[in-house]
Symmetry: C2
Subunit: 253 residues, 2 copies
């Protein structure tokens, strides 16, 4: 079977607070799942420090190999918010004041509170277009295939929704999840053969302790619904033939 | 002030299930915080797919630039567990059966259940030493500065504890967290000056909506306790001078 080249994306999570373990990143999960729904595969995530070298390197590495790149974090008004200047450096362009961004920030804060620090949030790499922030005004921006968004999950999610229409995905990846009480080692050989029989289906095996019981979740994913159904039936039959119980779960991710 | 070069680490999180958004990674937070306690800074995390090219590339990139590299995921018995062979490839060595690993797996499963798939878990790159798995027997391994661990958080954490004594950190990074009700834009200019005044302190600003109230947490980090105390006092005074309330929180990360 000829399969179209999948549309891919990379994500750069910017923030010392994630690396230090202070904050648990929530953006990867949201972006991974949302891209999946759009038929785009998140193929790599890099979490990097608040350092221009690290940010520019990650952005350049991922934009060269992915159809889309997203970044989260570092677009506020404080000295540690350096994403815009680092992305400008990655693209070799100037950081310029976007008049539309300045106007909407001034409207949001009022002339009194629109100080120098807040004005910083109006600066974007030359040639960038804005990404709307319906929560707290300060916009993200897009330059070429790179989308720069806030780190606060609620704001990031609102920004993502506002740019989803700019993304063109391929065929969505459909999935089937089969839960079983068998151990991984008991089903591994047969599962490997099932994978060989269905090369167009990506089969993952995940040990699980849901509801306190050890078990395995087998996740089958394919862009072809018919083949996925066939592989799912074969997988359930395999589990039963090994003496296990198979139960299809209602997951979509 | 002369500061010793910090001891650094990279982390490779291996797993399609994290990229698809199905699973929210918990290992970065644990490893980042645990390394911090040991005086080691996690400087980059890469989440990569179950692909040998991607795994080997990430391991090689991070081990060239970090004192330590950790990997999580992909060391079970199923066909999608390919970490050991990919790390062997990254190091240009053979994958060999470790007799001690084989013996402990056979003891754990019993000769009957120690099948070909489970025997796969005894294979490690030539020259590797084992990492104990007190939860489910199947060991991780260390080769040079790379530590390969399980993806299931409970097992990974037990493995990490068993290898912590193999790691030599530098001076631990101490931290101070000051919560304020001021907005980031209101304190950004003064905070930038504070950062300039204390170059040996890393100052981060994180908007927060804890307890439903908008506010900012200022996090100061340094290996020098005295300078950190001084910067903390200056930071509290700064917030008060701007008309805000400052409260030191009891965080350590």
């Amino acid at each position: 079977m000829e399969e179209a080249k999948p549309v891919t994306a990379g994500l750069v999570v910017i923030g010392n607070e994630v690396l230090s373990g202070r904050t648990r990143d929530a953006n990867t999960q949201f972006i991974g799942a949302s891209l999946n729904d759009l038929g785009i595969r998140l193929t790599e995530v890099r979490v990097v420090a608040d350092s221009c070298d690290a940010i520019a390197e990650a952005v350049n590495a991922l934009r060269a190999r992915s159809d889309y790149v997203f970044t989260t974090g570092g677009i506020g008004p404080t000295h540690d918010d350096i994403t815009a200047q680092c992305v400008a450096r990655a693209f070799g362009v100037e950081l310029v004041c976007d008049p539309a961004a300045a106007a909407l920030l001034e409207r949001h804060y009022g002339p009194e509170r629109f100080n120098e620090s807040r004005r910083r949030m109006a600066f974007v790499p030359e040639g960038a277009t804005l990404i709307e922030n319906p929560v707290s005004a300060a916009p993200g921006f897009q330059i070429e295939n790179v989308f720069v968004m806030a780190g606060i999950p609620r704001i990031m999610q609102a920004m993502f929704k506002s740019i989803a229409h700019r993304l063109s995905g391929g065929a969505p990846l459909l999935s089937k999840t089969i839960a079983t009480d068998l151990g991984e080692g008991a089903l591994a050989a047969d599962l490997g053969r099932l994978q060989d029989d269905f090369p167009a289906v990506e089969i993952g095996s995940y040990p699980s302790t849901a509801q306190g019981r050890m078990g395995v979740r087998l996740v089958l994913r394919s862009t072809d619904r018919e083949i996925l159904e066939e592989a799912g039936a074969a997988c359930q039959a395999m589990v039963v033939s090994l003496g296990g119980a198979a139960r299809e779960l209602d997951y979509t991710a």
